[in-house]
């Protein structure tokens, strides 16, 4: 338990010392959404209809930006080997790192998401649902992204490879998140898609840290 807390605290401390790096994702998110709004006609009703997709896809891309950093730096300075050699089970340490990364990059996006939705013209209940879908969906994204980051940690230039690996696995989350917001906009109960998102999160949280740890071992061999 102490080791998990130490890994978590170390991630946060490292991030605090380089605030500019972690501010990139929210800024990127804002720019992407503004471009969407500017490319559409002013007061285009289609923009409201597409708002959930824009909010979600923007968040997906923004969260993917920093995912390469989760394990890359640790591999370069040798920390990764120590993590895997530690007596604490490696999957738990991996999960702790991913949790810290979620807190730093995804939580700001979760906070911004509803505001972005409102800016695109979504009514209040749609924004509320958007917040819940982001809250339930971004940890899944981080787990899948962490897994892909672990897979490619030994690859010199993983740049475009990461989104190619992550985005197909994210399709169920995107579908249910969009479904929840659409249901709310039509005044229908949105509980079912939210439960699906929660189920996906549980599935990812229970399985992916183990696979990610195996991928890290493979990269170090």
């Amino acid at each position: 338990m102490r080791a998990l807390a130490a890994v978590f605290a170390r991630e946060l401390r490292l991030a605090l010392r380089r605030p500019a790096e972690w501010a990139q994702a929210p800024v990127f998110y804002g720019v992407v959404v503004v471009l969407f709004a500017l490319a559409a006609a002013p007061r285009d009703p289609a923009l409201v209809a597409l708002a959930p997709s824009v909010v979600w896809v923007g968040a997906l891309l923004a969260a993917l930006l920093g995912i390469e950093r989760v394990f890359r730096g640790d591999l370069e300075d040798g920390n990764l080997e120590q993590l895997l050699l530690a007596p604490t089970p490696a999957p738990l340490l991996v999960a702790s790192k991913i949790a810290a990364h979620w807190l730093l990059t995804a939580l700001p996006l979760v906070a911004i998401g509803p505001l972005v939705g409102a800016a695109l013209g979504l009514p209040a209940n749609g924004c509320k649902l958007l917040f819940f879908t982001l809250l339930l969906g971004t940890p899944t994204l981080m787990l899948i992204g962490g897994f892909a980051g672990a897979l490619t940690v030994g690859v010199p230039r993983a740049g475009l490879l990461l989104p190619i690996l992550v985005l197909p696995l994210m399709t169920p989350v995107a579908i249910f998140a969009g479904g929840a917001v659409r249901a709310a906009l039509q005044g229908l109960p949105a509980a079912a898609p939210l439960y699906f998102l929660a189920a996906l999160l549980l599935l990812a949280a229970t399985l992916l840290p183990w696979v990610a740890a195996a991928a890290l071992r493979n990269a170090l061999e």
Binding site: P168, L169, A215
Partner: protein
């Protein structure tokens, strides 16, 4: 039995074994495909609703089956490669991905060609079509991941992990027509109560599917042979086999 099995799993003997097996599989496969196509395109009667346009199922359905079968086989091989660290299973994973991706693309393309006259649209965003498209992306992800690694063993093992995680999509593709309201029709051949397709249309379909599967197996064996040659290019048996490479 086990001794034979273990001996077969060594790359040189598997290379020879595959070299003997692949031409036979290819010949049987092509014959079965030819018979299936003759039965399907010439002998089978036209559909009462769709006319001659239904005949694309003799390509579409076998390709779609193989896209799922190929992924399942790849996932099983991935499991074997990760648990028992068998080199041959790694070669199966790496060799399956491009072949499976081709059949998935074929299934999507033939489905679209059929969808235009029948549904009035090449593409609709519904469950079966979308999940099959995701399957294609998963295959391509495995191909891309493998090509990014310079060490073939590390690359194959990374691919195996990805293939296992992506395997959750296979049941989604298969049951998508049951779980969601899809424009795509439900199961016609393998379903409780027997196939709801006339025997004259069914046997060419099964023959073509068998032929496609044999063809697929031959392609995967050939790709595995290539993979083994590249991986073991510095070993003695490859130098004896291909003196040019060693020179």
């Amino acid at each position: 039995m086990w001794l034979w099995f273990h001996r077969l799993a060594s790359p040189p003997s598997f290379y020879r074994f595959a070299g003997i097996l692949a031409p036979w599989l290819l010949a049987i496969g092509l014959t079965a495909i030819a018979a299936g196509f003759y039965g399907g395109l010439v002998l089978a009667p036209a559909d009462y609703q769709q006319g001659d346009a239904f005949r694309i199922i003799y390509v579409h359905v076998p390709a779609a089956w193989l896209s799922l079968l190929g992924y399942s086989a790849m996932a099983v091989a991935a499991f074997v490669a990760l648990v028992w660290r068998i080199k041959l299973a790694e070669a199966v994973v790496v060799a399956s991905a491009p072949a499976g991706a081709s059949f998935t693309a074929l299934a999507l393309a033939t489905g679209m060609l059929w969808g235009k006259p029948m549904w009035g649209a090449y593409w609709v965003w519904d469950a079966r079509l979308t999940s099959e498209l995701v399957l294609l992306f998963l295959y391509l992800g495995v191909v891309a991941l493998n090509s990014a690694f310079s060490d073939p063993r590390a690359g194959a093992r990374a691919c195996a992990l990805l293939a296992l995680v992506g395997a959750v999509n296979v049941p989604i593709v298969h049951y998508s027509v049951v779980w969601w309201n899809s424009l795509h029709q439900g199961a016609t051949v393998f379903k409780p109560g027997g196939p709801s397709i006339s025997p004259g249309m069914l046997w060419p379909l099964l023959t073509a599917a068998f032929g496609f599967t044999m063809f697929y197996a031959a392609v995967v064996l050939r790709r595995m042979q290539n993979e083994l040659l590249i991986r073991e290019r510095n070993s003695l048996w490859v130098r004896e086999l291909v003196p040019v490479v060693a020179a």
